[in-house]
């Protein structure tokens, strides 16, 4: 504690706090921490990331869907309601359960008798006829366009035609195509208006939530939904918690192990040094990702750690263990080097000559003077842990049974090919923000406390 107080009073610390960019980044990290706390306090629960809130792959707030996509969405709402209402008509007992299945998080179905529900649904379906008519018009226009295009192609291929006639005919066809195409926007507009009317009718039996619930539903839906209709924003926000959990646990434990081993290796020398450096060499002679994979596998088979549905927290233990066993190495090297330097300083000699014990000197005088390096390494390992977690999860060796940025990216990587970017971009943008903030902070820490270091 005194070491930290001394650190906070030092000139280097003032240099660090006067770095505006670093302070802004600390603010950003604070924001992320708040979101993570929401996750820890249960405001954003794991179940929030698993409920359906929208049709599959709905884009977020920035993207306006075209007419056909909107029509598909409206039809989706009608069909899932129709299925359940039909089943309820056969089996009135199950009505309550069937209607609760229809709920999209806060957006629940109104509580009315079955007959009333069927009537409302029929009203909505009746309005869908207009949408179908608009879709037919659209199809007609597209068919006509296609025919003209084919005629144009045939014209180009026909031989033995008078060039002037060909030019005239082509201009005629292009004109015709333009008039046909001009009908499309009007048809689409009418269609969109029809879809809006259907949506109003749907809102009669499944109203948009209002007030606080409405706000929360807005948070759930503003970034769209993934391939299973789950909220992307909830998944991404919950992942902040996972990232902090992994980053914090791994960074703290690795720094503690690294400092203890590195400091004792540097301070005691001899066989302790040999043993620690032996461990360090062994661990670094295996590629990190391979070592992480093997270690994760070693822990995963255990039933306690392999049951994310019941123990989502314990399912992360293999990841923690693998990373802690691998990451302490870098801290250990740095701390050992620093302790070797400190060991020969006067104050250590003075403490020895007064007659303090070696362990006392190590923990009272040597280790506290490496506090700045511990801080820098904490920040560096935090980034390392988050990045490795994402990569491991992407390869299927990391987080299981709950969303994390890596899981999100790996689930959504195939959506890219249909030009649906929302999930990948959300996950990577959030991750980018956090990693960038930590990078800036570690740079500033390094500048302030260890300016001679070559990174």
């Amino acid at each position: 504690m005194r070491a930290i107080r001394r650190l906070l009073a030092s000139r280097s610390w003032r240099k660090f706090t006067s770095n505006r960019l670093a302070m802004a980044s600390l603010g950003v990290i604070g924001l992320y921490l708040l979101v993570a706390l929401l996750g820890f306090l249960g405001v954003i629960h794991r179940e929030d990331t698993q409920v359906r809130v929208l049709p599959d792959q709905t884009p977020g707030f920035l993207e306006r869907e075209g007419f056909t996509d909107r029509a598909t969405d409206a039809r989706w709402y009608l069909q899932r309601t129709r299925q359940r209402v039909d089943r309820a008509l056969d089996d009135p007992e199950a009505y309550g359960r069937l209607m609760s299945e229809l709920a999209l998080a806060e957006r629940t179905v109104i509580d009315v008798p079955l007959e009333e529900m069927a009537r409302l649904l029929e009203a909505a379906e009746a309005r869908m006829v207009e949408v179908d008519a608009a879709l037919d018009v659209r199809d007609e226009v597209l068919d006509e366009q296609l025919e003209i295009d084919l005629a144009l192609q045939r014209l180009e291929r026909r031989r033995g035609m008078d060039p002037d006639e060909r030019v005239a005919r082509r201009a005629e066809l292009l004109d015709e195509r333009a008039t046909v195409s001009a009908r499309l926007p009007a048809a689409d507009e009418a269609g969109i208006a029809a879809v809006e009317r259907v949506k109003e009718a749907i809102a009669e039996f499944q109203p948009m939530p209002s007030g606080l619930d409405g706000l929360w539903y807005g948070v759930r839906t503003f970034l769209g939904s993934d391939a299973q209709g789950r909220s992307i924003s909830m998944k991404a926000l919950f992942s902040v918690r996972i990232a902090f959990q992994v980053g914090f646990v791994v960074a703290v434990i690795s720094v503690i192990i690294g400092t203890l081993l590195g400091a004792s290796a540097g301070f005691f020398g001899g066989w302790v040094d040999y043993l620690v450096m032996y461990l360090v060499s062994v661990l670094s002679s295996i590629p990190t990702l391979v070592l992480l994979g093997v270690l994760v596998y070693m822990f995963f088979g255990h039933p306690l750690f392999d049951n994310p549905a019941e123990h989502p927290g314990l399912a992360l233990v293999p990841v923690y263990c693998a990373m802690c066993l691998t990451f302490w190495v870098s801290t250990c090297r740095v701390i050992r080097g620093e302790v070797l330097k400190i060991k020969s300083l006067e104050y250590v000699q003075a403490a020895t000559s007064i007659g303090f014990g070696r362990l006392y000197i190590l923990f009272k005088h040597v280790v506290p003077n490496t506090a700045h390096l511990m801080f820098i390494n904490l920040s560096l390992l935090f980034i390392g842990a988050i990045k490795s977690e994402v990569i491991l999860s992407f390869l299927g060796l990391g987080v299981k049974g709950q969303p994390s940025w890596g899981v999100m990216i790996s689930q959504a990587k195939d959506d890219i090919s249909v030009y649906f970017f929302w999930e990948v971009v959300t996950a990577s943008a959030l991750m980018f923000g956090l990693v960038l903030a930590f990078n800036v902070v570690s740079d500033a820490l390094q500048d302030a406390f260890d300016p001679k270091h070559v990174s």
Partner: protein
């Protein structure tokens, strides 16, 4: 000198065995046999398979077998996942695809990194320097996955799908571009198609880290006495930077390249996974996912050997440059 080399080799032998033992023990915690059995296999089948896999022998004997293979580098055993293919064969055939990506990538990223670092050091403290360094931090903060996913999408998938005239890169896959035997020769076209995009992505990913490191090296070098001397004798700034400093800064540059050399062999795991390139990295990760022990063990043995060899080589090079190292 020879005594020094011998000492370095001898001190590193236990490290090699340590790495082997670590992986061996980590893999013996879980029983992999069930993974390879069908749904309703009886205990006899279990015993049979266990014997076939060589897991029924006592642990010391299993480890002795492993060490025997690792020391002679002769991996005869079959892979569990790819039946009928020996581990040695898999290792051999996956080296070239890995190297055809990592070697150009290492070469290019070092070259470009040093050049940008020189530029940044030349403009130290001024706008170009800070812009370059901001770009480096931004580049470092973007996830490797993002580079891969969007790089593949925009440079390979979109041009193919949209039918552009120029669609030089394959979305996925690999075809050998070095032919041996009857029609020996190089097919650079195939290399461009299958390897160039991964190489470009790899260079861009490492750019942030490399430029920052090399710039720090250059900046440290500017404080040395010989620079002051050069300034005093009236040498121009470009001459100081590109002749005097570059030559002296080569030592840390070479050290860094040396330390990344072992990783050249394993290839870039993520790139190979995503682009479907049958290199070392992809083989090892699929082996871990499929619990293919012989392959994992062989791979770790080979990598540890290369890693230790490169460490010894670096030490020896240092000892040649700086004789004091030899005596410590």
């Amino acid at each position: 000198m020879w005594a020094f080399i011998l000492r370095r080799i001898l001190t590193n032998v236990p490290v090699y065995f340590g790495a082997l033992l670590l992986v061996f023990l980590a893999l013996r915690v879980q029983d992999p046999v069930y993974q390879y059995l069908g749904q309703d296999a009886g205990p006899e089948q279990y015993e049979q398979l266990k014997r076939d896999m060589g897991l029924d022998a006592p642990l010391p004997l299993q480890f002795a077998r492993y060490v025997g293979e690792a020391v002679t580098l002769n991996f005869q055993g079959d892979s569990w996942n790819q039946k009928g293919t020996s581990v040695g064969e898999i290792l051999k055939r996956s080296v070239v695809p890995s190297l055809s990506i990592t070697i150009p990538a290492l070469f290019l990223s070092t070259l470009i990194g040093v050049f940008i670092a020189l530029l940044a050091a030349y403009f130290r403290g001024r706008a170009p320097d800070s812009l370059l360094m901001i770009a480096a931090v931004l580049g470092m903060s973007i996830s490797f996955l993002v580079y891969i996913i969007f790089g593949q999408f925009f440079f390979a998938a979109v041009p193919r799908e949209a039918g552009w005239d120029v669609a030089p890169f394959a979305v996925q896959g690999y075809e050998p571009w070095i032919a041996l035997g009857a029609d020996a020769g190089l097919r650079p076209g195939r290399w461009v198609e299958y390897c160039m995009l991964p190489v470009m992505i790899s260079v861009i990913v490492s750019m942030g880290y490399d430029t920052r490191f090399y710039r720090a090296v250059m900046v440290e070098e500017t404080g040395r006495d010989y620079i002051t001397t050069a300034v005093a004798k009236g040498a121009t700034k470009p001459k100081i930077m590109f002749v005097h400093m570059l030559k002296n800064a080569m030592i840390p540059v070479i050290t860094r390249v040396m330390s990344t050399l072992p990783f050249v062999v394993i290839g870039s795991i993520l790139l190979e996974m995503y682009f479907g390139i049958p290199g070392m990295g992809r083989e090892i990760i699929t082996a871990i996912i499929n619990k293919d022990f012989p392959l994992i063990q062989a791979f770790v043995a080979v990598f540890a050997l290369i890693f230790i060899a490169s460490v010894i080589l670096t030490d020896v090079l240092y000892a040649i440059v700086d004789p004091r190292v030899r005596l410590s």
